[in-house]
């Protein structure tokens, strides 16, 4: 006769398993023990957190090794290492964002900061604002405009060159010697220190236009030297993953090769290419070194990239920190520098979000 089996109170299947509350107990006790140990050698919060984490990981692994066996203990050890590495990687990022936010927000909210330039802002004005506790004058408009203009010109130069290069490499070269040389040189270019790119542009325009030529366009050329390899590599990868069947389908329709590339291959890859370009822009917009030697330092608004010195956000930050407007009262300059840094980070973040948006907009449509 079949009898109904009742569920056993303590399952044999969960034998040798730690109860669910164990990690919490271990965590609480390691925090307490760490606090006690820290008070012996001098308390500080950072050491306390690190010690607690180490004790927690060790306690978890050891308790698991004793009760649950080797396999589970190894799993917990690996989990602790992965999680720890993640936290270590995240720490500087969070710290940077926090520091810049704390130091930058007051300056960014100061009246006129986004709308005015540094023209006419002298050390005396800064001294007066510190002495009278009036808002800091002077702004970042000229540097913001310069950064945007220089980056736009750099993009206008690099995208056609980079995209056409990658089209040659993927569609036309058939992996010949020439294409291997190009690929090698592009890889080398990726590793060029940015100051070298700046010196190249400065020297080139020095030869062509006369020594000491510093304009926004020279800076754009320097940045495009840095951008082109990034654009080439990212678009090359994107063009490579376009399925060959699509090209064959177009060829078999009697479509010419250049039209196939223009109408089938590039539209299929456009989302990846566009986001690659946006990321390349985000990479160069924060470059400081090449701009120092190519665009100079300006304190006033200059919207012409072909004439005159041009400010940019990175060089603005650099000059404000290194040579404060008022050497005796560097605080207003510091405030402006932090605010400009915050603005730059926001700009790069917007560009990254823009890259995702662009990728989504251009992605091949799905749905029924």
């Amino acid at each position: 006769m079949a009898t109904l089996m009742t569920e056993r109170k303590r399952s044999a299947l969960t034998r040798g398993r730690l109860p669910k509350s164990t990690p919490w107990v271990v965590a609480a006790s390691s925090i307490v023990v760490a606090a006690a140990l820290m008070s012996l050698i001098g308390f500080n919060v950072f050491g306390w957190a690190v010690l607690s984490a180490v004790l927690f990981a060790a306690g978890n692994v050891v308790s698991s090794a004793v009760v649950e066996g080797r396999r589970k203990a190894t799993d917990k050890l690996a989990t602790s290492l992965v999680l720890g590495a993640f936290l270590v990687a995240l720490l500087p990022l969070v710290s940077v964002i926090w520091t810049v936010l704390v130091n930058g927000v007051p300056g960014l909210l100061a009246p006129g900061f986004l709308g005015t330039s540094m023209k006419g802002v002298t050390g005396a004005i800064d001294n007066a604002s510190v002495a009278n506790h009036t808002p800091v004058l002077g702004g970042v408009y000229h540097a913001f405009l310069g950064s945007v203009l220089i980056t736009v010109w750099a993009t206008l130069i690099s995208v056609p060159v980079g995209l056409l290069t990658s089209i040659y490499l993927v569609e036309y070269s058939d992996g010949n010697k020439f294409s291997k040389v190009i690929t090698f040189l592009v890889d080398v270019m990726t590793g060029i220190p940015s100051i070298v790119a700046g010196l190249f542009a400065a020297a080139f325009f020095g030869l062509v236009m006369g020594p000491g030529t510093k304009t926004g366009f020279v800076a754009a050329v320097a940045l495009s030297v840095l951008m082109i390899p990034v654009v080439v590599r990212s678009s090359e990868e994107m063009l490579k993953i376009v399925p060959n069947e699509l090209r064959e389908a177009a060829y078999a329709l009697g479509v010419r090769k250049w039209r196939t590339i223009l109408k089938v291959v590039i539209p299929t890859a456009i989302s990846g290419i566009a986001s690659g370009v946006t990321l390349a822009i985000a990479r160069v917009i924060g470059e400081t070194a090449p701009l120092l030697v190519t665009a100079g330092f300006a304190t006033q608004i200059n919207s012409n990239v072909f004439a005159g010195w041009m400010a940019s956000l990175p060089t603005f930050i650099y000059t404000q920190i290194m040579t404060p407007t008022s050497p005796s009262n560097p605080d207003p300059s510091n405030q402006r520098a932090w605010a400009a840094a915050l603005l730059l980070i926001l700009l790069v973040m917007l560009l990254n979000l823009g890259a995702r948006l662009v990728a989504r907009i251009f992605a091949p449509k799905t749905g029924r």
Partner: protein
Amino acid sequence: MSKRIDVSDLNVYYGDFLAVEDVNITLDAKSVTAFIGPSGCGKSTFLRTLNRMHEVIPGARVEGKVLLDGDNLYADGVDPVTVRSQIWMVFQRPNPFPTMSIRDNVLAGVKLNSRRMAKPDADALVEKSLQGANLWNEVKDRLEKPGSGLSGGQQQRLCIARAIAVSPDVILMDEPCSALDPISTLAIEDLINELKDEYTVVIVTHNMQQAARVSDKTAFFNIAGTGKPGKLIEFAETATIFNNPGQKSTEDYVSGRFG
């Protein structure tokens, strides 16, 4: 329109490797010809030489003559693009253009060749082509939706509609049903039967029942061993190939004794 194809003394190479040797065959206008044979015997390779798609692969070349109503496809000065706009091809895996809507996919052959077309004409062509591919009723309400959202069988019929839209003389099909279920296969086989009223159809297939069902004539290709070139063993009426083949190896193959 429909044209006949005469192939004489055709050798097909990949680099130095002779893939298909000495093919002589005549494909009649307004008929369905099936190519059967074991894998790797050169059926698809030979098919791709018929619209000069073979040479898209680096190092691939062809010797011999392929006459389309008497014009040699491989004569000096023939633009492969001209050839391909007259002889269309449907591939093994459906490959609609993912960036285009169903409507644009059908019009791809026209649009990509930058021929201008008034909207009413284009609409008429889309409807005619989709009806020709037995797809109109399924997609007429969602022509602006992406072509990649269709089922596999519908995508394959969309590719056939794309082929019909450029009104070719010949349609080549490289195992068009191998990735499809029996229902979609049936739809495509019905379609092939209708297509032969207007076009010359050549189909490569691994499915012998399919060859028997759809084709008027059948060509059997075989390969002597790995590394040897594929050859045309026998070409005859489909009924003859399946019921009364002239060659021993054909009989072995169609009766399932090997391959």
